[in-house]
Each structure stands twice: as C-alpha cells, then as structure tokens.
C-alpha cells in the first residue's frame, strides 16, 4: 500500500506550552482514531528554534549554519504523520481529520518506495 507524508502547516508556536493543551488533546484524539493507518510522525518545535545548514562551495566546503528559516508566513511546517492508505482518496479522508486541516493546511504527499 502506498504511504503518504501528511505534512502539517499551522501556526508557528511552541505546542508544549500549557495554552496549547486543547490543541494537543485534539491531536491525541486524531492519533488514536487513525492509529490503524499511522506509521510514524513527529511534532516540531517552532521555526525560531530551527537552524538552517548549508555547505558553501560544494561538498566538503564551508559549513554555514544560520538561525531559523524566519519565513514571514502565518503558517509553518510544524509536523508530519506517515500514513499508509489504500489510495489518495483514503489519504485525503484521513488528512481531513488532522486538526491542522481546519486550522492551517495538510499536504498529502506520496512517499517514495525504494523497494528495500
């Protein structure tokens, strides 16, 4: 069966703060409801905790690490689920249950099967 990364774009906040307890509860409920198709995933700290890494001058060149992506957008990549679904229609149905779907957006993207 194909796998999909359900990539979550939502408000760029620290989900561990007490004020997001309700949001986390919703995500937990989704996690339980969709347990049959969830194969993995992660929630991420806000983008201000991120470090962008680039190597200048090709492989082996200078490592340039900069603070955050600092994109001026309302929605940021804040997590993802790995889903295993029969087809895109099922993936869309499951993705539509992720809280970010009504409070942001969820990108359902097929995962490459390297046949390992």
């Amino acid at each position: 069966m194909p796998q999909y990364a359900a990539i979550i774009y939502s408000k760029d906040v620290d989900w561990t703060l007490p004020e997001y307890t309700t949001d986390m509860k919703e995500y937990n409920e989704f996690g339980q409801a969709a347990a049959a198709v969830i194969r993995g995933g992660a929630a991420l700290y806000q983008t201000s905790t991120a470090t962008t890494v680039r190597v200048q001058g090709g492989k082996g060149g200078d490592v340039i690490a900069t603070d955050g992506p600092y994109a001026e957008t309302n929605e940021a990549l804040t997590g993802f689920y790995l889903l295993e679904c029969a087809d895109l229609d099922e993936a869309i149905r499951v993705a539509a249950q992720i809280p970010a779907a009504w409070d942001g957006a969820v990108e359902a993207r097929p995962v490459i099967d390297f046949g390992g």
Binding site: A86, L88, P110
Partner: protein, 406 residues
C-alpha cells in the same frame, strides 16, 4: 470513399474502440498510465496493419489482445530491470459485457476528473484519455501550446501513479461534489465539438452526449446531469441547421427550424422538465441554460420567441453563474423584448468582451437596426480584426456586406 476518408474512418474506429479498451485495461492493470501506453501502442499497430490486412472482424478484441500483450511486455521489462520476477501476469478474462465497459468508462471519467488534479489538467486528461485526441489536438482545443500540454499530461500521469489516485467511482456521499467537476469537463468536451464559433466536431458532441447519458444512468434524478443532458440535446437538435454547405454559421434567428431534429427537441424539453421539477432551492446553471434553450426550441420562429421568458431565465442564470457571455446573451434577448436601443444599452453595459468577436457582432446587429450604419460598420470591423475561424470571418464579412447594401 477517398483514401483520406478511409483513413479518417479508421482513426475514428481505433480511437473509439481504443478508449473502451483503455477503460477496461486500466481496471485490470490498476495502472492508468501503463494502460495508456499499452493502448497507444496497440492503436499505432492497428493503424499500421489494418489498412494492409483489413480491419479485423472484432476490432475491440484485437485491440484488447494487442494492448494486453504490450502491457505484459512492459511489466516484464520493468521487472527484469528491477531484478525482480514479474509479480502480475494478467490472465485473459472473458470479453467484458457492455455494462462492464460502461462502468469502466465511468471509473475513467472520475479518475480523469479527480479534484486532486488541477481543473485544466482534468479537462486535458479527459480530452486525451476519454476522447482519444492527440496531445496537439488537446492543446489546440484548450488554447495551450503542444509542448506545454505534453508536460502537463506527463505530470498528471505521474501524479495519478505516484499519489495513487484511485480508479473508482466515488462513494455516494462524495458523488455530488465529484460530479460537478465531471460535468464541467463533459460540457467543455461538448462545446469543443459543438464549436459555437469554429468548425464543429460531431464526434466530440456525440461522445459528450453519450457520456452525459451514462452519468444520468449512474445518478438518475440528479438535476445538474438532467440539465446538462437537456442543454446538449437541445443545442445539438440544431446541428443540421447551424451551418451552410460552405461551413459558414447560420445565426439562430436565420436557421431553418424545419431542419431541427424534433426527436431531440422533444427529449430535451422532457429532460429539462424533469430537471426543473427536481431542482432544489438553488437553481442549477445547466438546468437554467437548458430552459433558455427550450424557449428557443419551442418557438416557431425567432420573432415569435417568448423573449420575456428568455430574459427572465437569463436573470435567474446570472444569480448563479454571472459571466460576461451570459450578460451578452441576455442583452441580445433584451433587444428582442424591448427593442434595439434597450438591447444596445444592455450589451454595452457588459463591457468586458472587447476581445470577443460575438460581442462586437451583437453590437453591430443592434446598431444596424437603429440605422446607425457607420457605427455598425465600425463594430463589424472590430469583430473582423479579432483572429478567429475562417468560416466565422466569412460569416461576419457577409453580414457587413449586407449592411453596406442597405
């Protein structure tokens, strides 16, 4: 039959049968792009060998067998390249029944019109896959360069495979939403064939009507399907009267109504009646357009048309589908109901159609009726300056010449 005609007939046969073979093979393989490759290959072989060896007694069976073999070849080659055993050997099954073929075709319709694909991609896929148009023809139909169209279709095929867009008819609760997209695609197919301002393609019109009838069987009582079917039947009833022998168009006002197909008019009126009865609180744009078409179909002459009803229906249409073309047509109807001055005011008020020859032509007709001959001539010249079909240009030149001869 000339050689060219024989060739064209053969191409039509291969396309028509090929799409049915494709629909079934896509289900059997569970892989639309693979099925497309296989059927494309079979079609090429048919066009090579049939002129030489004669058309087989059962062209569809021939195409099915050839496409199936080709698909197995492709699968084996891919398996060998990946160093794997070919997992699936496709067992030949009994020839599918007409009902199965029909269902397969519907699956194909819903896959091509899947909302995860951009609308323009859905339309392109339907034309390519359901109508068997070449990539260049799809590009021409949608006014997109061939190279752009080829890229778009390749991307679409990749997405169908990689994202596993299913090859199924949607569940009942999803059908109304999904149907809207399908109807838009089918109607575009119809208008591409009906070609209000170009060369008609009766094969596309027939295909669109056939697809619409299929959709009615799947969703009996669905007003938008009834509306679309009625609209298509009523428009198509005028097929024989819409053009002169030289291919130039004849305006609705000037058509020989004796050449309209009464059977299609009667069926269309019946179907639009059912569509109106089943319409929920919100009017359906197809039903309303069909109601307008029915006003014309039932009028003995242009002058005796119930213009008040036509204008009222356009007013309803504008509440659900406000387009410049609908406003233009309403303006023309106002001109018939209230006289050319009122019509001209309504047509001028549309104002967003200066690149649309029929807008200038409508103004020219109304100006001529107001004896503002110079302005009418200017409007005809503006219409003629816009690139368009030769037959349409000839038609406009004739109207302009008639004006000069007054």
């Amino acid at each position: 039959m000339t050689e060219a005609e024989a060739r064209a007939a053969l191409v039509r046969l291969v396309r028509d049968e090929g799409r049915r073979v494709l629909a079934t093979l896509a289900r059997v393989l569970g892989d639309l792009p693979l099925a497309e490759d296989a059927v494309q290959d079979a079609a090429v072989r048919a066009l090579e060998s049939w002129p030489r060896d004669g058309v087989p007694v059962e062209p569809r069976a021939w195409l099915t067998l050839t496409a199936r073999r080709r698909a197995i070849d492709i699968l084996r080659r891919e398996a060998a390249r990946a160093g794997k055993e070919a997992e699936s050997v496709i067992e030949p099954d009994d020839p599918p029944t007409p009902e199965t073929v029909r269902d397969d075709l519907l699956r194909l319709v819903f896959t091509c019109c899947h909302p995860a694909l951009a609308v323009e991609t859905q339309v392109a896929l339907a034309l390519r896959t359901l109508c068997g148009l070449s990539v260049a023809e799809v590009g021409a139909a949608l006014l997109v360069p061939e190279a752009t169209m080829a890229k778009r279709l390749t991307r679409a095929r990749q997405k169908i495979t990689k994202a596993a867009i299913p090859y199924t008819v949607p569940a009942d609760h999803e059908l109304p939403d999904r149907l809207r997209g399908v109807l838009a695609v089918v109607y575009l197919l119809f208008t591409t064939g009906y070609a209000p301002t170009g060369t008609p393609r009766p094969d596309l019109v027939d295909e669109a009507v056939r697809l619409t009838r299929l959709l009615r069987e799947l969703m009996p009582g669905e007003p938008s399907v009834l509306g679309l079917l009625a609209l298509e039947l009523l428009q198509d009833s005028r097929r024989a009267a819409r053009h002169r022998a030289d291919g130039t168009p004849v305006l609705l006002a000037d058509q020989d109504r004796g050449r309209w197909r009464r059977d299609l008019v009667e069926e269309g009126v019946l179907v639009v009646g059912e569509g109106l009865r089943r319409t929920p609180d919100v009017p359906d744009p197809y039903v309303v357009q069909a109601a307008i078409a029915a006003c014309h179909a039932l009028a003995p002459t242009w002058a005796d048309t119930d213009w008040a009803a036509v204008v009222s229906w356009y007013d309803v249409l504008l509440t659900v589908a406000d387009t410049p073309v609908a406003r233009l047509n309403r303006g023309v109807a106002v001109g018939e109901r209230d006289g050319p001055a009122a019509g001209l005011a309504a047509v001028d008020a549309v104002g967003e159609l200066s690149g649309y020859p029929l807008w200038h032509a409508a103004r020219a007709e109304l100006l001529a009726r107001l004896n503002r001959v110079d302005e009418a001539d200017t409007a005809y010249r503006a219409a003629l300056a816009i690139p368009q079909d030769d037959a349409q240009l000839t038609h406009l030149r004739r109207r302009r010449a008639r004006l000069a001869g007054r």
